[in-house]
């Protein structure tokens, strides 16, 4: 592992127990991320993105069937830590989360300033006054006027509430923030504003991001690396330049071709069919029934192949 690696995820598994059987929401995920970088986890609804965020941050529901794999944070293997240690020293302190729909989950009866200050009080044990000073600094970083500290969530626009949620994730100065669909519910201009904020934060605070999204076009606003997720698995991990120019995996290529473009005259094409059920995914390649390149081999599970530094889980690239 290079010194510069901030986060490495290896063979991460999170299965949920349900009446119908085990839901394989996260099923062997891998990727890594360097300091001051952003990796995008790109995938369709239901492919396991939010579950992956939960698995990385150990924010687990009760109905766990299987939870395994390795997570290294600056070399420390966090999966090996006990819950107490993890809670005190990792979650919020070194890694934090902006949950999906965070801007709609702010506490309606608490001033937003107090909410942003709260993680400081809980996790760094500082006094409220001091935490509020820190919260005010974060407001400046994310572009919320400082006098908004005393406001309530309902008095803020969606864009402002999302900035507050981001400020809350940053107040404890973690090295890594996981953003789960941070702009999906927002308008274009508000989205673009939030991405400007994230770009600035990456430079000013030297923070790294895992950006979870299904929006390919806006994901390129922040991405240094891209990991494509499908039916609980990672199909390709690439650097952003190579990915957005021409990805390798057939699924990635078809995803790219489905993006309507404002500045090009290409007709977007959709992918027929649907992702498989995570209750009983196919034994071989999970994308096989939608893949135009499918051949006999694809009935077996494809290996992850390294193609000039790009990792692709597809039989086409085995030589």
């Amino acid at each position: 592992m290079s010194k510069d690696t901030l986060l490495r995820v290896e063979d991460l598994v999170l299965h949920f127990k349900t009446q119908k059987g085990s839901v394989r929401a996260v099923d062997g995920v891998f990727f890594d991320l360097a300091h001051k970088e952003a990796v995008v986890i790109l995938g369709e609804s239901g492919c396991g993105k939010s579950s992956l965020a939960k698995a990385i941050l150990r924010l687990l529901p009760r109905n766990i069937d299987k939870y395994s794999g390795k997570i290294y944070l600056e070399g420390d293997e966090t999966m090996a830590m006990d819950d107490e240690n993890y809670r005190q020293n990792v979650r919020w302190v070194r890694m934090s989360l902006v949950p999906q729909a965070a801007m709609n989950s702010l506490n309606p009866v608490l001033k937003v300033g107090d909410q942003v200050a709260e993680p400081m009080i809980i996790h760094h044990g500082v006094k409220k006054e001091e935490a509020l000073i820190q919260a005010a600094k974060m407001f400046q970083h994310v572009g919320v006027p400082v006098d908004f500290l005393d406001r309530y969530a309902f008095e803020l626009s969606g864009g402002m509430r999302q900035r507050v949620a981001i400020a809350m994730s940053l107040v404890t100065a973690p090295a890594l923030v996981i953003l789960d669909e941070p702009t999906s519910a927002l308008d274009v201009l508000t989205q673009a504003n939030i991405f400007n904020v994230l770009k600035r934060l990456k430079q000013e605070l030297e923070v790294s991001f895992v950006l979870i999204t299904h929006d390919i076009a806006t994901s390129s606003e922040l991405a240094d690396r891209v990991a494509v997720m499908y039916a609980g698995q990672i199909l390709e991990v690439s650097d952003a330049h190579r990915f957005f120019n021409e990805p390798l995996h057939p699924y990635s290529r078809m995803l790219m071709a489905s993006v309507p473009r404002l500045r090009a005259n290409t007709e977007p094409e959709f992918i027929t069919g649907q992702p498989p059920s995570l209750l009983d995914p196919p034994k071989g390649c999970r994308f096989a029934d939608r893949c135009p390149k499918r051949f006999a081999k694809c009935a077996e599970e494809p290996p992850v192949v390294n193609v000039d530094g790009i990792q692709v889980k597809c039989w086409l690239y085995t030589s």
Partner: protein, 328 residues
Amino acid sequence: MTDKQRDVLLSIQDLHVWFELRRFGFGHAGYVKAVDGVTFDLHFGETIAIVGESGCGKSSLMKTILGLNKPTKGKVIFENLDVGALSGEALRQYRAHIGYVQQDPFGALAPFMNVQQILEEPLLINGVKDAAERERRVRKVMEEVKLTPVDDFLHKFPHMLSGGQQQRVVIARAIILEPKLVVADEPVSMLDASVRVEILKLLRGLQEKYHMAVIYITHDLSTVRYFSERVFVMYAGNVVEKAPVNSIVHNPKHPYTAALMDATSDPDANNALTMRELPPGEPPSLVNPPPGCRFHPRCPKRIENLCEVEEPYDLQADDHLVSCWLYK
């Protein structure tokens, strides 16, 4: 066919839709001017997109077209009907001519009805009494929206369907009475990229086949060129630019339209290397919109002593109508 050769289906004339604002204990506290002077014609079989940020009045305009809101001032004329004057049975009959596809497909479908019941409902309401005839039409429309094999889907409830399939049911319900107009309010904003394209293409195919007029409402400019002939851009209750779609994406004239385009990403790794230039601030309150041009507090091209004083009106600039003093 040019616009002039087509007959007008829907005519919106100086439409104002204001909602009274009441504050507890104070009574009347002003109006939310959600639609504030909108005029346009829609022709038979024509597709238009209405683009603008959340809260600019898109849905209020739509609901007024559907007869769900009454105009405060101005008119909605559908063929020869004055929609604002309709009520009761006449309003119900009018609505049968309009299909409505809303943003949240799950919220649009009654959870206790299966697909067959959902699709039969408009037929029942509109007096199709023969059960065999209803089933025939339900099956036909399911084929049209590709909810196939039909027998697999007829008895499914909404929660058993994916978001894309739910939206197909909503579309099927919207077109089952073969309306002359379909209003689609952010029909794909809750769906994944690939499903979005699939649904938009489905709508386009149906539009062409049945020669329906479509009003497509969205905040996402990147989809409009594949889906509409003309684009209307709305800001703070007004339509600020009207133009053919190709002309608007290649040459936006209103500074707000240009800002929307600048904010729209295409997938490109270089995006991460620069900040986007964006207008400062947020859209104004519709209770007390700024005087003069409503965009002036955010406009990089503002003309001092004019834009903040006088309200611009529609000005012709090439094939665009632009409500902006730059084109005087």
